[in-house]
Assembly symmetry: C2
């Protein structure tokens, strides 16, 4: 079978742009060399803007989960009360980490596919006035919900002293994110989503308030000590040997971000979301997230009835090398998840929709071939692109 790099359409890892692949092949150098210092300096210059902060953005050599754990162990200690929003697999992971470290976890739970309601947050904060941190997920990758992080964050800022901690792994770099302006205290992301890199790096940005709380927090940790990373980063260095080839790739990604411009990147992702959702509606494929307002610009989940989701995915992979993700945990076998973030353009969307239509036909769906594509094309044209 021919290889189609552009057809890896899961919500991360995403395809890697050729110039980023190339950058990761630069000749290896020492992690204490001038080259490494310059590399980190360039990353420091560009990365914070993407998080909407003037603070340093710490780069951990570890996958997104290491950054989630870092957020927990640096900011709270055994016995502390925390609030965790659970509406899918990644909120659940945050909760698991909190439970592991013996925190007193209060759950704000939603059906998979639903978004946070602000009233519920207000109620929880009233009921549990000692909450020290609120753990939330910007894009819940398992359901494709985009939670109203700005509103939640502003609400917490008004009503509580708790830290607002956000897993932004499949959102930052693709969806508008203004950490400082929105009063987010800890914002996390990872390399293999909008950042168009292989997995292996994760990012942690800390507000001044978070830094103060972390300084006095007692939970032991070593590799994930974010203040140690921050101090090192202030001299364009790292406390331990970093994943250098990924950092070389990150530098190139940041060049590409600058060339395209953040506002244009956000617009491109909104366009791709609209194209996919409109096409699926035209094909009568039920969307898991019904309200456009809470649908993520980076990933779209759709229900494939009659337990045919995995059959559809198999056919698409076998015939075309097109790879969609399936459902996780309680949605296993029920949905497909289409990743459309990072190295993804409207041309890719039209391509994958055309293949999806064939797949739907093959599993017996009564669709009009071309109708999804046409709808997406119309979204593109009528959007003035």
């Amino acid at each position: 079978m021919f290889n189609h790099p552009e057809l890896l359409r899961i919500p991360g890892p995403t395809p890697i742009p050729p110039q980023v692949q190339q950058a990761m092949n630069e000749v290896m150098f020492g992690h204490r060399s001038e080259d490494a210092k310059n590399l980190l300096q360039e990353i420091r210059d560009s990365l914070p803007k993407i998080f909407g902060t003037t603070e340093e953005v710490i780069v951990l050599s570890g996958s997104g989960t290491s950054a989630l754990e870092a957020a927990v162990v640096n900011s709270v200690s055994e016995g502390d009360e925390v609030l965790v929003v659970v509406s899918g697999a990644f909120g659940k992971r945050f909760a698991q980490i909190c439970e592991t470290f013996n925190l007193r976890v209060h759950y704000l739970t939603y059906e998979w596919g639903e978004a946070v309601q602000l009233d519920d947050v207000v109620k929880m904060l009233k009921k549990y006035p000692n909450i020290k941190a609120v753990f939330t997920t910007y894009c819940e990758t398992s359901t494709s919900v985009l939670h109203p992080i700005r509103e939640i964050s502003e609400l917490i800022q008004q009503k509580s002293d708790a830290l607002m901690i956000v897993d932004g792994v499949s959102a930052v770099g693709a969806v508008e994110t203004k950490m400082d302006e929105w009063n987010i205290d800890i914002l996390i992301s990872g390399s293999q989503k909008a950042f168009m890199l292989p997995p292996g790096l994760s990012f942690v940005a800390l507000s001044k308030k978070a830094q103060r709380q972390i300084k006095t927090n007692k939970q032991p940790h070593f590799y994930l000590d974010v203040l140690k990373h921050k101090t090192a980063l202030e001299s364009s260095s790292t406390p331990y040997t970093p994943a250098l080839s990924l950092l070389m790739g990150l530098r190139q990604v940041l060049v590409m971000f600058k060339e395209e411009g953040l506002e244009n990147i956000y617009k491109r992702h909104l366009l791709m979301k609209d194209m996919v959702r409109s096409a699926l509606r035209a094909l009568h494929i039920p969307l898991l997230v019904t309200d456009d307002k809470y649908a993520s610009p980076t990933v779209t989940a759709a229900r494939i009835p009659n337990d045919q989701a995995d059959e559809l995915r198999s056919i698409l992979q076998e015939q075309f090398g097109l790879i969609f993700a399936g459902g996780q945990q309680k949605l296993k076998g029920e949905i497909i998840r289409i990743g459309h973030m990072g190295y993804c353009t409207p041309a890719h969307i039209l391509q994958l929709l055309s293949l999806l239509e064939i797949g739907l036909k093959k599993i017996g769906y009564d669709i009009t071939l071309g109708s999804g594509v046409a709808t997406a094309q119309d979204v593109y044209i009528s959007g003035g692109w």
Copy 2:
């Protein structure tokens, strides 16, 4: 300046073989795909042999320090008594991690450049009968000492119930290592040394005894939970998204290991050690480790008098792009460290020695040009290669 990949001669990161660079550029795939499963399966088939074990070798997406921390937090808990051998920067790091987690740390300290004396270990075990784990370093990269790990391990097996925990980061894959036969309980390594990869992966192998102790250990941890990693690995999977491109590289490295054969790899490293040490002696450059028996096959440290070590390094880098490491911490400015592991052959050694001679001349050393090279050539020829 022209780029000379082969002249990165620090003790890690090392140069990356072209076929490994190439392998890391394979098209990205999903971390839950069949491709990922096959990748991990192939790694599982080959990696344990290099550690000298029939147990699984856990692959962490994190640098060597994450594996050191994993060894600590999985095997012992707050208040436990441990023994740590400190004879350089990396023994010291193990100790720092142990202190971080509030262990009762007993130190077995040596001058930088000295190796462990077995009698001292016996004394410490007698004096502190409740020691639960002994933390040692196979090759102390900061001094180029190779500690007698086999002997220490066999001794601990006879005299104590403690776990024998070994940082093998700059040794495993280049120096004979028989974990099972020598009764090592936890053996750690990293990707950027003998494994010829960029930094970002680390390895942890666990004896049955270590696994038992870990099962009942109470220290909280999440990302570094080695049993969770082991369980996942048993189905050729990982608990969290792994650093996939590095794993693709690792698969290629394991192919290369198999092609050359482990015994041949060990012999090549012993040869390179002998070539470097004989040449430096011929040039009257004092070796930091005087006894050949305790000198590492992977790195050689030499004293450059009159505080000229860093001047020498600067000249070599500026003139030829040849990069040696300097001294760390208390040896800063006093030594050079020549890495000769992984993607390194006798031809590389002769090349670097010829450049080193020029550098020594330039900083005013009274040497006979070519004399170090000639000595190394003689070692090569008379060794029957």
